[in-house]
């Protein structure tokens, strides 16, 4: 006789345990993303010559482009990317669209910082996580049947993180507003809306089963294409080229910043996949805290500032950590995950993607009919070419003359590598990077 009180079958118990593991993996990926995205600012701090923010962004995006092709080739091989695209070719459009959104948002942040300063601009564009929660709820069934406790954890956590980010931005700001305040506010809000909306393609891709490593390889075409168009459009081809030639000595540091950023972004993609955008994005927004740690302890940025600044930093950091903890402890319940699966099934039906493939990928597994991908000679050539470009620019790089604190730098770098090793091992062991 069957009854509601019957103990769960072994398959159900396994399913629940697997789902819990994937949630933990998503949270770990979110933490690691925050650490690496924050560390990406460190190499750019070594650049002190006067090149335009547009050229800085373009060079970083070129570093990002190289990393976005070489890392997937190294981790899984491009045959896995090709297989993903054959299964869901429509997602290439969303990946390119997301890349374009990123580039426009990034350019708007440059203008916002110029017009209203970082301390006002940052909290405005950091609202992107709130918009991400809204789109996740509206389009992808996130936080449906989640209960008030999880709603409070996610929304409250994101709001507390925004408050903490505001305090940190005020503390780390070195410049006041330079005028055009209304224009700057619009630019910062615009960047927040663009970044918040960029998470629609992220979630759509992962609900349809696409591997994050495949998604980012196409994302980067939108990113580099739009950024190049904006840089040429606003600076002019000849002045831009002259600027790039003049910046030869710092190109490596900026490209390195882009490379580190890609590692953080890859973990952000896995967080968006396994805990959804409503939780993954606030977690990876803890990058500001890490950026500030590098700024204070390695570059001595707040040296000589009044004690009130340090109080703001401590207060802001505590709020950020509190928000991160609130989001991390609000993982999706079984009912909510069932609603995610409904959204995934809707995508599979609409675009004719095999249901078993979508279900397997959502579960962090390969579908039964998928082959085991391996790296070809072309993948190794791609990795070698990207590494070669980095080596060439490293040869041209000028070592900056600035006082760095080696001890804290080594400590932070060790923490980063440790987080990378733990998260990468957990992802490989649980999902084989699916």
């Amino acid at each position: 006789m069957t009854s509601a009180a019957q103990p769960p079958s072994s398959a159900e118990a396994q399913g629940r345990s697997r789902s819990k593991t994937l949630q933990l993996l998503g949270i770990l990926s979110g933490f690691t993303a925050g650490a690496w995205l924050g560390a990406a600012e460190a190499p750019t701090k070594l650049v002190s010559i006067g090149i335009s923010p547009m050229a800085i962004s373009l060079i970083m995006v070129i570093g990002v482009f190289l990393a976005r092709w070489s890392l997937p080739a190294l981790i899984l091989g491009t045959s896995s990317v090709r297989a993903d695209v054959r299964r869901a070719p429509h997602l290439m459009i969303w990946a390119v669209l997301a890349g374009c959104l990123w580039a426009v948002a990034n350019t708007l942040t440059i203008l916002a910082i110029r017009d209203i300063g970082l301390s006002i601009a940052f909290p405005l564009w950091n609202s992107n996580s709130l918009l991400g929660i809204f789109w996740g709820f509206l389009f992808f069934n996130e936080l449906r049947q989640a209960g008030w406790r999880r709603w409070t954890g996610v929304l409250g956590g994101a709001l507390v993180m925004c408050a903490g980010a505001t305090l940190l931005a005020i503390a780390s700001s070195t410049q006041g507003p330079a005028g055009h305040s209304l224009r700057g506010v619009w630019a910062a809000l615009g960047a927040g809306v663009l970044w918040g909306t960029m998470y629609i393609p992220y979630r759509k891709a992962y609900l349809t089963g696409m591997n994050p490593l495949s998604f980012v390889t196409f994302f980067t075409f939108g990113e580099v294409g739009m950024m190049s168009a904006l840089a040429v459009g606003y600076t002019g081809l000849t002045p831009l080229w002259q600027e790039l030639l003049g910046a030869r000595g710092v190109i490596f540091w900026l490209m390195l910043g882009g490379f580190i950023w890609v590692i953080g972004d890859l973990f952000q993609q896995y967080a968006a996949k396994y805990v959804g955008i409503s939780r993954g994005i606030p977690l990876s927004n803890s990058n500001q805290l890490w950026g500030l740690l590098w700024g204070i302890f390695v570059f001595g940025e707040l040296h000589g500032r009044p004690s009130s600044t340090y109080l703001q930093v401590v207060g802001g950091s505590l709020l950020m950590m509190l928000g991160v903890a609130a989001v991390a402890f609000s993982s999706a319940s079984g009912e909510e995950q069932a609603r995610w699966k409904e959204a995934a099934a809707r995508e599979a039906r609409r675009y004719g993607v095999a249901r078993d493939y979508v279900e397997a990928r959502l579960d962090g597994r390969r579908a039964a009919d998928e082959s085991v991908y391996s790296r070809s000679v072309w993948d190794w050539l791609l990795v070698a070419a990207a590494s070669g470009i980095f080596v060439v620019f490293a040869g041209m790089a000028r070592v900056p003359r600035m006082g760095l604190h080696a001890g804290p730098a080594a400590l932070l770098a060790t923490a980063l590598l440790l987080l990378l090793a733990i998260s990468a091992f957990a992802l490989w062991r649980t999902t084989r990077f699916n």
């Binding site: 459009i93 426009v104 948002a105 708007l108 203008l111 630019a187 615009g190």
Partner: protein, 41 residues
């Protein structure tokens, strides 16, 4: 029964993309962002 389960079963892939609200929301936001950028520059 494919049409009951999937009302878009007979439409082409571009049609499915172009009738998807998940496509038009990011496109609209991107265009608005480009417009904002051109006003600001």
């Amino acid at each position: 029964m494919a049409t009951m389960d999937n009302p878009k079963a007979n439409s082409s892939r571009p049609d499915r993309v172009l009738t998807d609200v998940h496509f038009w929301v990011p496109v609209a936001v991107l265009l608005a962002g480009l417009l904002l950028l051109s006003f600001m520059h």
